[in-house]
Amino acid sequence: MADFLLEIGTEEIPARMIAGASDELSRRVGELLSRERLVATIQVENFSTPRRIAVLARGVSLSQPDMEEQVMGPALKIAFKDGQPTPAAHAFAKKVNLDVDRLEQVNTPKGDYLAAKVTKQGRPAKDLLAEFLPKEITSIYWAKNMYWRGGKPERFVRPVRWIVAKLDGEVVPVEFGGIAAGDTSRGHRILSGNAVTIGRPDDYSRALASVSVVATPAEREHIIRKALDAATRTVPGARWREDKALLETVVHLTEFPSVILGSFEPEYLDLPEEVLVTVMRDHQKYFAVEDANGKLAPHFLAVLNTSGDPDGLIRHGNERVLRARFNDARFFWETDQKHSLKERVAWLKSVTFQKDLGSYHAKTLRTQKLASLIAEVLLQAEVKTRAGVIHKAALLAKTDLTTELVKEFTELQGIIGGLYTKAQAAQLDVSQDVADAIGETVYDQYKPESMDDDLPRSVEGAVLAIADKADTIAGMFAIGLQPTGSKDPFALRRAANGIVRIIAEHKLPLNLASLMSDALAEYKGSDAERNFTATFAGDVAAFFRERLEFYLRDVKGYAYDVVNAVLAADAGNIVDALARAEAVAKVRGSEDFAAISASFKRIKNILRQASEGGKLKEGGVASDSVESDEPAERALAVATLQSGERVRHFREAKQYDEALAEIATIRKPLDTFFDKVMVMVDDESVRDRRLALLVTLLESFSRIADFSEIVTERKSS
């Protein structure tokens, strides 16, 4: 058994793409080896740095095992005439290199054929890899790739500059992008001379270490964490702020990482922390440092792609850059204070929200009305909100789009508006407390930006966030700009996911369908309405249904059949759907519900067939079955009517565990009914009555979930 190493050496790959591509490369190589019968089990190890992705596979055979294969020949009646082989038989024998009497006969659905067993000689691993790897390399997915050679023969994320491919000690002659594989890799650009020979595949990471390249992201992460700790320790009581995304980025920006601690003038701490952290993290890729109380300290940590900074030159350079950036931010902050947010509301008339949907000013007015409407709905369900806070927050929500600071740091939209609101209590003519509440609401309007992001903190924030997103979704759908396939340029899925999560986790008694029709209604009479095209209601319902499924399944972890069952009963009320899913998930595995699910499927089949045969009528009365001569039918009718009433009661009281316990009691009478009673009898009145009973049963017992959607596994005993 041999080891196989493939390294693709490139110019710097974008940090965000490395992990995915590295995984894909090793998956592809592993599958290739397995498909070509060169490994019994796939054992691969990944390596990656900004300038390379590599995979090491173990237990690789040097050659495919020989394989016995059956080759089909001519049909028997053509191959033999009067028991004698025809020329066709001889030709086939020649082709497979056997005597005619060593050929076999096989029986196939198409008739009897002549066949031959031939031994297919296994090919050397080296040849197979050289032949198939280029296709695997070409197929790696990149979010964005490029041409670099004349004639544009191939695309890759960045130009490929070298390839190492070795099967134990031997070079595998793979070729890609005009580069023939060899056994020479390259070291760190600055810290080492360029070339390093890879002796054997399992020497790879050691060889790279000798030229100042740490070959695995995991090890670099470890080094960076320790170096961050060590650098932070020089400031008493300080801690560095954990930031997973940033850590991942710098891991993929370095081949030989080290860390420096830099400082900035404490006077910059007067700027809001959000601004400082954004400059450090998003623009400079620095880690923020906080003191023992969690407050930002005037320091930063930069991760270098070199061994260190003995003269302090690198620290000095980074400090210069940060100071300039902070200066800019302070300049923008001060400039922005010359015009209050209140003044800026009118400016929104010249900021386009969407070309067919009008300005942000128009959006502001719609969102304001919709938010008030939502607040009223909540009030009816005794969820109280501060109406004034919502009203003012909605008015100011988008004004920060006109500020210099947001133009410079677009990722801070909403946040800047929130901070400015808090700083402008006087201009708003409200107390500082109220200004803070309005500010917080504005600040949180875009939350949650992802499934992991925080929700708006207050109910007012939740209401504004929902109204803003619902207005966008309604407008975009109405002009036919809903997401299609993988395309979602306006991030409407994210917006809808946000609405679902806010409603679910703030436990708001809101109905999606009426929310969205209210949102659409706010467009009535606007210029935008003339551009409306789409069949709105169905599209939006299906879209939210999908988002809700996603939330229940992928975020809350409910099995897909539970989700289908629950949403089939009702998909409008999210909080309720969540509670029902929780209850159904608990009983899903039980014997009672497995049986009920099977019976409900059967009922649906019977009803479908009856309906197709024109035998399902409106006239049947389920309660007639109470008078039936059949005891099983009588029992089921009684149980259906009585239990059905109790289920309805529990459903209304939102006592879903109790409702399900009640539903479970139908199992016995239902099983007995199907054992003893035939539904589709010839006697029309009996049949109508029994069908009506099943219809009623299905209706009464499917209010929590449609149990026919539940997948039942037959347990093998």
Binding site: P50, Y286, N327
Partner: protein
């Protein structure tokens, strides 16, 4: 030059070193384009030369005007007009990154003492119908160069592609000289050995142009200029398109009459002399006027998209015409090399 032994490079020494370095790598050293541009990419030395199959290497300084970036000479990091050093390598050699790093050594940066990273930054100019893949080159946290592999220009897919290196000269000079304000950069040491600073040379420029760009430029006239330049550019490219369009199939019975109505270039010479290059200058004028209007706050967000599309249409049309012209010239040269040379001598 001897005085620079112990001192970092002055601003003009920085330019000289880059010129010298890239001249040594076979680049044509060009002068800045003398029409206002927002970036070195917009100079015809880049925008037009990257089109078509002909290899080309060029290096040049390009003062780049971005009216909206002006700060009345008061912000130490921002300028209305900054200076780029632009290099085009068409096609890029395999060691293009190494060459670039050598150029940094040539301007006195000892990379062993610094932290250098190539971070993803793809460049796109909707106005030029151009985009590329590349990096911002970060030196100790400072973006010093935009490194782009051009993939498309003027809406035309490029083959071969070009590598474009754009050095931000003020930033690099401030870094080398370790000054916090661009205006403190030493441009040159005068005959008395005293520094002449960037501020001495350019401060007034920044102040006056900020006033003009933000306050004085006459919006109505700017629109008028924009419309005029656009119309003139459009007329030229329209004429080129008309004279090179595939002839339509004439209707039966009208063959002769129709053929006579179609305007065509009489010969290759008249086609090669058709003023596509001036059309491009007119297009650049439009682009600069758009930037001025933008700085004046005269373009609403809604209009913005529309005006960008208008300028893009011009840039794309010019690029097409230029590529077509180059193709015809190349074909002609291949067909009759001697005649083409003679023609070239004749026009000079």
């Amino acid at each position: 030059m001897s005085s620079s032994k112990n001192k970092p490079l002055t601003f003009q020494e920085l330019i000289l070193k880059l010129q010298e370095f890239w001249a040594g790598r076979g680049c044509v050293l060009q002068q800045p384009h003398d029409v206002e541009v927002g970036a070195g990419t917009m100079s015809p030395e880049t925008f037009l030369r990257v089109l078509g199959p002909r290899p080309h290497r060029v290096g040049y300084v390009q003062p780049s005007r971005r009216p909206a970036d002006g700060r009345y000479g008061e912000n130490p990091n921002r300028l209305y007009k900054h200076t780029q050093y632009q290099v085009i390598l068409k096609p890029p050699p395999d060691n293009v990154q190494e060459l670039y790093l050598e150029s940094l050594a040539a301007i006195g940066i000892d990379l062993r003492k610094h932290d250098i990273k190539f971070e993803e930054d793809n460049w796109e100019s909707p106005t030029l119908g151009a985009w590329g893949i590349g990096w911002q080159v970060m030196l100790d946290g400072l973006e010093i160069t935009q490194f782009t592999y051009f993939q498309q220009c003027g809406g035309i897919d490029l083959d071969p592609i070009s590598a474009e290196l754009t050095y931000g000269l003020e930033r690099i000079a401030a870094f080398l000289q370790d000054v916090d304000s661009i205006y403190d950069i030493v441009w040159v040491y005068g005959p008395d050995g005293q520094p002449v600073t960037y501020g001495d040379i350019r401060q007034l420029d920044e102040e006056q142009f900020s006033i003009y760009n933000f306050e004085k430029a006459d919006v109505a006239k700017l629109w008028q200029h924009l419309n005029d330049y656009e119309a003139e550019c459009q007329a030229l490219v329209d004429e080129y398109i008309r004279k090179t369009a595939e002839p339509k199939k004439p209707k039966k019975g009208q063959e002769t009459a129709h053929a006579e109505n179609v305007e065509r270039f009489a010969d290759v010479k008249s086609r090669r002399r058709f003023p596509v290059l001036p059309a491009f200058d007119l297009c650049l004028k439009c682009s600069h006027l758009f930037n001025l209007l933008d700085a004046r706050g005269a373009i609403s967000v809604t209009e913005r998209v529309g005006v960008i599309a208008r300028i893009r249409a011009l840039a794309v049309a010019v690029a097409r015409a230029y590529a077509d012209q180059q193709r015809v010239i190349a074909e002609d040269r291949e067909a009759a090399p001697e005649k083409a040379t003679a023609a070239a001598v004749g026009t000079s």
